[in-house]
């Protein structure tokens, strides 16, 4: 079976103030997987996503999205940042935030019109937030805010989705709603890459996994590589996780 590579990372090194955060990462992610990036705090999981997306400049290395640099492939990539990275007291509505997902395809100066609004409403519906479209974003719960961010990425209608801890601080209902959407995306042939913290749910939610702790430790199908050996290498302790399935 010939797999198309969605994301290829080559020799990527990132440092803040001389201390390496990511060290010589080589990584290739095949198309169509739902992949978790796991690792301890400070392992560089968010940094990896941000450097792939060009938000952080790496010291060395390169990234290719379907074989081309990211700057040429922006329309194929969508990003869901950490919920805590923005000020939710910003004066705007849920629908308005979701509409921001259309800004990239609109380009400079052009304003979103009826078509963009329709797409955004559909995305809101998909995440079950249509009833909240006119709500000021500070009046949404944490889980609802996360769904808004997800809807904003869905509007981009990309081939690859990067998500930074989408399950952080959300309740069980929202977590299930989100993972169902992610599984739907995979079914539609999309590639979904998620920074994830809860090791217990990795086998249940994801089919691929990357272990990361400054260095790249392993990447592969969950059923092959999600084992005590890799967990120990990543977390430094003998992590007792019963590998299911």
């Amino acid at each position: 079976m010939v797999e198309k590579i969605a994301v290829a990372v080559d020799d990527l090194t990132v440092a803040y103030n001389y201390k390496p955060v990511l060290w010589d990462i080589d990584l290739s992610i095949p198309e169509g997987v739902l992949m978790a990036i796991v690792g301890p705090n400070g392992a560089g999981k968010s940094t990896l996503i941000k450097s792939i997306l060009g938000i952080i400049d790496p010291i060395a290395g390169s990234v290719a999205i379907f074989g081309k640099p990211y700057s040429k492939q922006r329309d194929k990539v969508a990003y869901v940042p950490q919920k805590g990275s923005v000020d939710w007291d910003f004066p705007t509505t849920a629908l308005d935030v979701v509409m921001m997902g259309t800004y990239g395809s609109l380009g400079w100066i052009k304003r979103p019109g009826a078509k963009e609004k329709k797409q955004s409403l559909e995305a809101l519906e998909k995440v079950g937030m249509l009833a909240f479209k006119s709500r000021q974003i500070s009046q949404l719960s944490g889980g609802q805010q996360q769904r808004i961010f997800l809807a904003r990425a869905l509007v981009q209608d990309a081939a690859i989705y990067f998500m930074d801890e989408p399950f952080q601080g959300v309740d069980a209902t929202t977590e299930i709603a989100i993972i169902n959407i992610l599984k739907e995306l995979r079914k539609a042939g999309k590639t979904v890459i998620v920074v994830h913290h809860d090791l217990q749910t990795v086998p249940e939610y994801f089919d691929w996994v990357t272990f990361l702790n400054v260095k790249h430790i392993a990447t592969g199908p969950v059923k092959d590589i999600f084992n005590d050996d890799n967990l120990t290498k990543t977390y430094g302790i003998n992590y007792k996780v019963a590998v299911q399935k």
């Binding site: 705007t92 800004y103 400079w108």
Partner: protein, 370 residues
């Protein structure tokens, strides 16, 4: 002073127009400074403009307003650039960088001002008016310049509205969408500096940041929409200018700049207290109302817990058994009766069907309806 003076007195009309336009542009652009959480940047920039004014005078030897303001613009931009540089290149935080640049530039500016004042050049008198501003020196050409700058910023604002909003809310995301965030950032900063510089003559370096922040802070209280906020801030700023000028013109020896700033502060104070959504007053009222509502629910639930052990829910119970229960007052009882949740006969109360239904659903309303 009477109102006809506004239409007959040329100077007063010019000053009023000038301060109104200035208030509008400051409110408009100040909204962005506030939302970028860079309120203090305005203060640093206006102080950083002082040496530019002094140097422009030293080079040209003339007190042409436009030349001096050009000097202010250049040194304000250098100050902004340095602040950004310090933040991105060192471990220092923004507040430290702002404080450093503010005092460094302002100190240098003061040094130059004292030096200039010791010069024999008779032209030097009055440069210190840039410290606290002097609206009386506004002439028609100044007002025209202000209007042009305001017009251009409004145009840029409308043109890049979408980009500004995106950058203010989520810069990283804007980057991934392919927008040049450095350009948008620079554009916003440039226009904020521009607004500050054209206000220096009227309000002065020391008070300028209030012109920028007060209308925006007041406007934020009244709305949850960015466009309405920017519009309101412009209106608040404009009225601060007009009222401030009128008040200072009605008395002798009242400096216009400080009065405008005080009027703007009144807008802030009123907004903080009286705005319906975020104001202190209505927040307090809502709090008290919620608390009353809760008392009522607590009483109803207590009654429900007594009643549900009986087969007949409308069976009367003595009011006295509520006595040990905190939160029970005559008032709560009559309110419950008004809502048709209970009926009272003499010293007894009984739950109605409505009341029983309400009480049994009281603490399950958070669950989504499936």
């Amino acid at each position: 002073m009477d109102i006809t003076q506004y239409f007959t007195d040329y100077t007063l009309r010019t000053i009023t127009l000038g301060t109104a336009v200035l208030g509008a542009i400051c409110g408009m652009l100040g909204s962005f400074a506030v939302l970028r959480k860079e309120s203090l940047l305005g203060d640093a920039i206006s102080h950083a403009a002082l040496p530019g004014i002094a140097i422009a005078f030293l080079i040209t030897g003339a007190k042409d307003t436009n030349v001096l303001l050009l000097g202010a613009l250049v040194s304000g931009l250098i100050g902004t650039w340095w602040i950004r540089g310090i933040v991105s290149k060192t471990h220092l935080k923004t507040d430290t960088a702002l404080g450093l640049i503010l005092s460094l530039f302002f100190g240098f500016g003061m040094l130059l001002l004292t030096y200039i004042q010791k010069q024999p050049n008779a032209n030097q008198a009055g440069l210190d008016k840039y410290l606290f501003g002097q609206a009386a020196t506004l002439v028609e050409s100044d007002v025209i310049l202000m209007s042009i700058v305001t017009g251009v910023s409004l145009l840029v604002l409308l043109l890049f509205w979408k980009e500004f909003k995106l950058l203010l809310f989520d810069k990283d995301y804007a980057m991934t969408l392919g927008f040049n965030t450095k350009f948008i950032d620079g554009l916003i900063s440039f226009f904020i500096v521009l607004a500050i510089v054209i206000g220096l003559q009227t309000v002065g370096v020391v008070l300028m940041s209030a012109m920028l922040l007060a209308p925006a802070a007041a406007a934020r209280q009244w709305t949850n929409s960015l466009s309405v906020m920017v519009l309101l801030a412009a209106i608040f700023g404009m009225f601060s200018g007009v009222f401030g000028t009128a008040i200072s013109a009605s008395q002798t020896n009242l400096s216009t700049g400080p009065v405008i700033v005080l009027v703007a502060s009144v807008f802030v104070a009123v907004s903080f207290i009286f705005s319906p959504g975020r104001g202190i007053l209505f927040k307090q009222i809502r709090l008290i109302r919620n608390r009353r509502e809760l008392e009522l629910q607590k009483t109803l639930y207590f009654m429900y817990s007594i009643v549900k052990n009986h087969d007949d829910i409308s069976r009367p119970h003595a009011i006295r058994i509520l006595n040990n229960f905190q939160g029970f007052t005559k008032n709560t009882l009559s309110q419950l009766e008004q809502k048709n949740w209970i009926t009272i006969q003499g010293a007894n109360w009984s739950l109605t069907d409505d009341g029983f239904k309400k009480a049994s659903n009281l603490y399950t309303t958070n669950l989504p309806e499936s």
